[in-house]
Amino acid sequence: MRNLLVCFLAVIIAIPPLFGRVERGGGGNRVAVQNHNNNANLNRNHNTNVNRNQNVNVNRDVNVNRNVNVNVNNNVNVHGGYYGGCCYHEDNDWGAFAVGAAVGVATTAAVAAATRPSTTTVVTNTVAVGSVVPTLPGGCTTIANGSAVVYQCSNVYYRPYYQGSTLVYQAVTYP
């Protein structure tokens, strides 16, 4: 009996390391990957403004002057985030793709697009509680909540935390 126990312990002790020592990272949290077309937090505004001046002057020599001015604004506002995830869906760092930025110039395609009926969708910004972003959107104010720091950004409240070695802001309920 004792021999059996010794044998068992010897087997356990002889087990080689299950994991190596080279740093491989934590691998815990996942990055939210989702089709934002199916996301309740997808806000998309397409505003198409078309100014068209077509002046045609006709004289005996038949001269045609045509000015076509097209301004196309495609505003895409995508909200994302993932509770405990790795914050790669912030809505305030999309450069030329962000809200209010003009995308596109008066190319042939743009002209063609501008001739289509324009649509405007008005939506309300929503950010899921628990969403994590690495930077705050603009226009935030700090509100007092005891010793905790809370930011109010429009109607969304954020608290700062460290996620690993990254400073992040998590959307929270009204404090």
Binding site: E23, G26, G27, A32, V33, Y83, C87, T135, G164, S165
Partner: protein
């Protein structure tokens, strides 16, 4: 009684995933080329022996998406180590720059100079143990092996295989290419030879994950005699700095 004990022993052994994994690990034949170890030791022992050293690391790290897709992230780190127990890192990645202070006094501090937030983690008084502790808090440092007291020991103690692939060009620079495996991972190292042998690049593939995420590190500006002062490793809290929590701890508390 003996019969029941034997049944229990067998059930533990057969039912344990640890044993099952061990079985596969044991099937991997050890094959260590001493040349590979000599090259690695030549590159890492100067780091171990330096009283202080600094370097920069460009890191790309694969994370897993919620759909199992690989999502690659990028960051840079500026690292200064003073033996035996002082460490300072400047992280630049997503969001604000963050500095990490560790002065061997039993705590590690993360601080964001722009917003003046900081968090304090109680950690042991050796770098090796402190790095182990903060990794449990989610602070995973890709170059961790190179910050420990003996990088060579840290990198080689679990090796299954080690090979010297050959002398190759790494972006117009002659380097020695080494390849290693260990339980759950395979990795490669590229080492610049000559009078100042240094590690130039490291790539680690996590084989324990079915998606095999990868960490790639390119090393720059090795300095084994940097000027340091104790101040740079100690966090001097600005009067208006505010302490915040680690998200991981908050999430665990709420479970």
């Amino acid at each position: 009684m003996k019969k029941y004990f034997l049944v229990w022993i067998l059930s533990v052994m057969l039912g344990s995933p640890m044993i099952a994994q061990t079985g596969s690990a044991q099937n991997e034949t050890k094959d260590i080329d001493p040349l590979a170890l000599r090259v690695m030791k030549a590159a890492t022992d100067p780091v171990k022996d330096a009283k202080a050293y600094s370097f920069r690391a460009l890191v790309s790290r694969d994370l897993l998406g919620t759909n199992d897709q690989i999502i690659t992230t990028f960051s840079t780190s500026e690292i200064t180590v003073q033996r035996p127990n002082k460490l300072h890192i400047k992280f630049r990645g997503r969001g604000e720059p963050v500095e990490m202070f560790y002065d061997g006094s039993g705590k590690t501090v993360l601080y964001s100079p722009s917003s003046k937030f900081y968090t304090t983690v109680e950690t042991p008084t050796t770098i090796d143990a402190a790095l182990s502790d903060i990794s449990k808090k989610g602070v995973n440092i890709a170059v961790r092996n190179f910050l420990e007291s003996d990088p060579y020991q840290s990198l080689t103690e679990a090796l299954t295989t080690a090979y010297a692939v050959g002398s190759v060009d790494l972006f117009d620079e002659k380097v020695y290419h080494l390849a290693f495996t260990e339980p759950g991972a395979e990795w490669q190292m590229w080492v610049v030879g000559g009078d100042t042998t240094r590690v130039k690049r490291l790539e680690v593939i996590d084989k324990s994950n079915p998606q095999h995420p990868r960490i790639s590190v390119t090393f720059f500006d090795w300095d084994l005699n940097p000027s340091t002062s104790n101040d740079m490793f100690t966090f001097n809290k600005p009067a208006d700095a505010k302490e915040i929590e680690m998200l991981k701890e908050v999430a665990e508390k709420s479970k």
